[in-house]
């Protein structure tokens, strides 16, 4: 029986899972939508991985979680390590591309840049207070234009004259976009313009002051959009590498971190069948009104968090 490691990345829009062996080879992977239900999505991911997984040859000895619902799902599947998505992405990408210098990443709600030197992250930036130019912006604009977001890239590549669109802020971009549509600009030019706007907005905000050196790896859901990839290549004048497993990089990193942590905790695919519930308690002890989240497995409290001080602690029993 060989050892295997599970990594799950629960993002705002999509949930990703991967199982690796001790040599860090990907044994199986899955990508599906979170649909506002991180626990349900994680269960689906675990169930799907359980089907693809060779139970006779390997056994999962440790799990790692990352993404915005990492804590919740970490408690659910008894994770050895719960890590932020920036570290997980850096670890995942540098393992597959040891010579990478810059990682561009645009996800559903966030975007980040990670600068790498000698295989280790040396600087990073992440969007604060604003989600302009991320995946959710692109998909809402796709809906407005009546096209599937998956087709966005192909349509954009067909344009030779992208329409300039203001991309500083989602609200401005949207009104500019509506204006351009009503002025009679072609749909494919507008879509290409949107892709350029996303890339330029990224470089002007997140990438500000950062030296973007090649090789450049672009990942996250938006990297599947050829239009944005081309916009980045045009703006930076460098080749942009998009890994076929780019969408799995976060969970891959989480699995590697679980492997590296050396902490082995029993993991069972039965988690997919178990009943998990959460309850929100507003702590009444002061005016901070901390929102304490309690997680129950089959009615039994397994974890809680959200309290700023010990007065809000929720204990088992």
């Amino acid at each position: 029986m060989k050892k295997a490691y599970l990594g799950i990345d629960i993002g705002s829009i999509s949930t990703k899972g991967v199982i690796i062996d001790e040599e860090k080879n990907i044994l199986c992977g899955i990508y599906l939508w979170t649909e506002g239900n991180p626990m349900g999505a994680a269960k689906k991911v675990i169930a799907a991985l359980g089907e693809q997984f060779d139970h006779s040859a390997y056994q999962v000895v440790a799990a790692g979680t990352t993404g915005s619902a990492r804590k919740l799902v970490g408690a659910m599947c008894n994770a050895s390590i719960v890590k932020n998505e920036i570290t997980a992405h850096a670890v995942g990408t540098t393992t597959l591309h040891p010579d990478v210098r810059t990682i561009l990443e645009i996800g559903g709600q966030d975007s980040k840049i990670i600068c790498v030197e000698n295989g280790v992250a040396v600087d990073y930036a992440m969007n604060t207070l604003c989600a302009a130019g991320t995946g959710s912006f692109l998909s809402s604009q796709a809906r407005r234009l009546g096209v599937e977001v998956e087709e966005f890239g192909k349509i954009a590549l067909g344009s030779s004259n992208p329409t300039p669109i203001a991309a500083r802020c989602t609200v401005f971009a949207e009104s500019d976009l509506v204006h351009k549509i009503q002025m009679g600009h072609k749909k494919q030019d507008i879509i290409a313009g949107l892709c350029h706007a996303v890339a330029n907005n990224y470089l002007n905000n997140i990438g500000k002051g950062k030296k973007i050196l090649a090789p450049i790896v672009f990942q996250g859901g938006v990297s599947k959009n050829e239009g944005v990839v081309k916009a980045f290549a045009d703006a930076l004048g460098e080749e942009i590498i998009v890994d076929e497993n780019g969408h799995l990089m976060g969970c891959y990193g989480a699995a590697i971190l679980a492997l590296g942590s050396g902490i082995e905790k029993p993991f069972s695919f039965d988690v997919a069948e178990m009943e998990f519930t959460t309850r929100e308690i507003t702590c009444p002890n002061c005016a901070n009104h901390c929102e304490v989240i309690c997680v129950y497995r089959e009615g039994e409290l397994i974890d809680s968090w959200g309290n700023r001080c010990e007065r809000g602690e929720v204990r088992e029993g």
Binding site: V120, A121, T128, G209, H289
Partner: protein, 382 residues
């Protein structure tokens, strides 16, 4: 004008309500109302009655004023400053008056203090019956309180991440603050300070020879008020780092760094409150950072640049820049920080605060920042 005895209040800023309250009580013989510790309610109240695009400190102060008036305060103190803060006194006053509160605004900006003796004139306005001797006598104890708080906090930030027993530092620190509130004279302050430092020194540490060192720089209010910055210093310290911060009340308003005694005396004599908080050190730091900044962009921006360069030169592992959303002086400092970051190969984490920033987002960024500097240190031996 409110009737009855004056009850003063200055917005919450870290733990500095202790020395301010002490001074008001013992020098002016007036009552001082400490605003209650900031909570979500403070911020919500402040945001509700403030202009939307004003900076977070304005909103925090607004919430503090309202909560202090609920506790009975009727004289609100506001300082001037070299950024928008210079107009905040009038704006706070107008909004609160429109809301129907009955109070007196003691707006230091309007006094045009150009001289140390003007300070006495201002104090006399508040307490016409106080004698000069009475005003001067508690000054040493007040000053000692401020430096004691700052020294104790410096030590706390630099070592609490390495305590063997969780909570040992917090226990001493909280007792120190509680004792300091009871202090009556200079002798008490000295004793309490000594006791706290001795208790700190007795805490067993497990500190590596070359610990990770992080410097915190940025906007005056957000950097000094742990509630406003979501306790980032404590959070990153507890991950296992030494946290350094130059900006505090002693360094910004009390200690003139000039080595020349005559110049130092002159700086104190011409203490310019309209240049708050930078009157006594801005020219010196300006010279130090002349490579990066030719002129001052207001408020604490020069110290942000000077200290960023200083920490970078000392070989720190990373810097955290904090500012409230829309803080113009600090925004002007950011491009300079980019240059410092590139020249000295030091990563800088930029944090922006507004009233609704969630704890989780900040924790994610801090954790990632810590992971990054820790991994970086592993591969580049010092």
């Amino acid at each position: 004008m409110p009737q009855g005895p004056k009850r003063l209040c200055y917005p919450q800023l870290g733990n500095y309500d202790i020395p301010i309250g002490y001074f008001v009580r013992s020098a002016l013989h007036l009552e001082y109302i400490s605003p209650p510790p900031m909570t979500k309610r403070t911020i919500d109240l402040g945001a509700k009655y403030s202009p939307d695009f004003v900076c977070a400190p304005f909103k925090c102060m607004m919430g503090c004023y309202i909560e202090a008036m609920e506790k009975g305060a009727n004289v609100l103190i506001q300082t001037g400053g070299t950024c928008r803060l210079g107009y905040y006194g009038e704006l706070h006053e107008q909004i609160l008056k429109d809301m129907g509160y009955d109070f007196e605004m003691f707006n230091i900006t309007l006094f045009r203090f150009r001289h140390i003796l003007d300070f006495l004139k201002g104090v006399k306005q508040l307490a016409p019956h106080a004698r000069i001797w009475e005003i001067v006598r508690p000054l040493p104890a007040t000053a000692k309180m401020i430096t004691a708080i700052d020294h104790v906090e410096d030590y706390y930030r630099q070592n609490m991440g390495f305590e063997r027993e969780k909570g040992a530092f917090d226990k001493v620190y909280n007792r120190f603050l509680a004792d300091l509130r009871q202090a009556k004279r200079l002798r008490d302050v000295r004793r309490i300070y000594r006791e706290a430092m001795q208790a700190f020194a007795a805490i067993p540490l497990c500190k590596p020879e070359h610990p990770l060192r992080v410097g915190v720089i940025g906007e005056y209010f957000t950097i000094m008020d742990p509630y406003s910055n979501h306790e980032i210093e404590k959070k990153i310290a507890q991950m296992g780092t030494e946290v350094h911060r130059w900006m505090n009340l002693s360094n910004s308003v009390m200690i003139c760094p000039d080595k020349n005694v005559i110049k130092k005396l002159n700086a104190y004599l011409h203490y310019d409150l309209n240049k708050f908080p930078s009157s006594i050190w801005v020219n010196i730091q300006q010279k130090q950072s002349s490579r990066y900044a030719k002129f001052d962009t207001g408020s604490s921006s020069i110290s942000t640049i000077t200290l960023a360069e200083h920490y970078a030169k000392c070989g720190f592992d990373g810097l955290i820049h904090v500012k409230s959303f829309g803080c113009t002086p600090e925004m002007d400092a950011v491009p300079v920080l980019h240059n410092i970051s590139a020249d000295y190969h030091i990563p800088i984490l930029y944090l922006n605060y507004d009233t609704q920033t969630s704890d989780t987002g900040i924790e994610t960024r801090l954790e990632a920042f810590y992971d990054m500097i820790a991994m970086r240190k592993e591969v580049t031996p010092s």
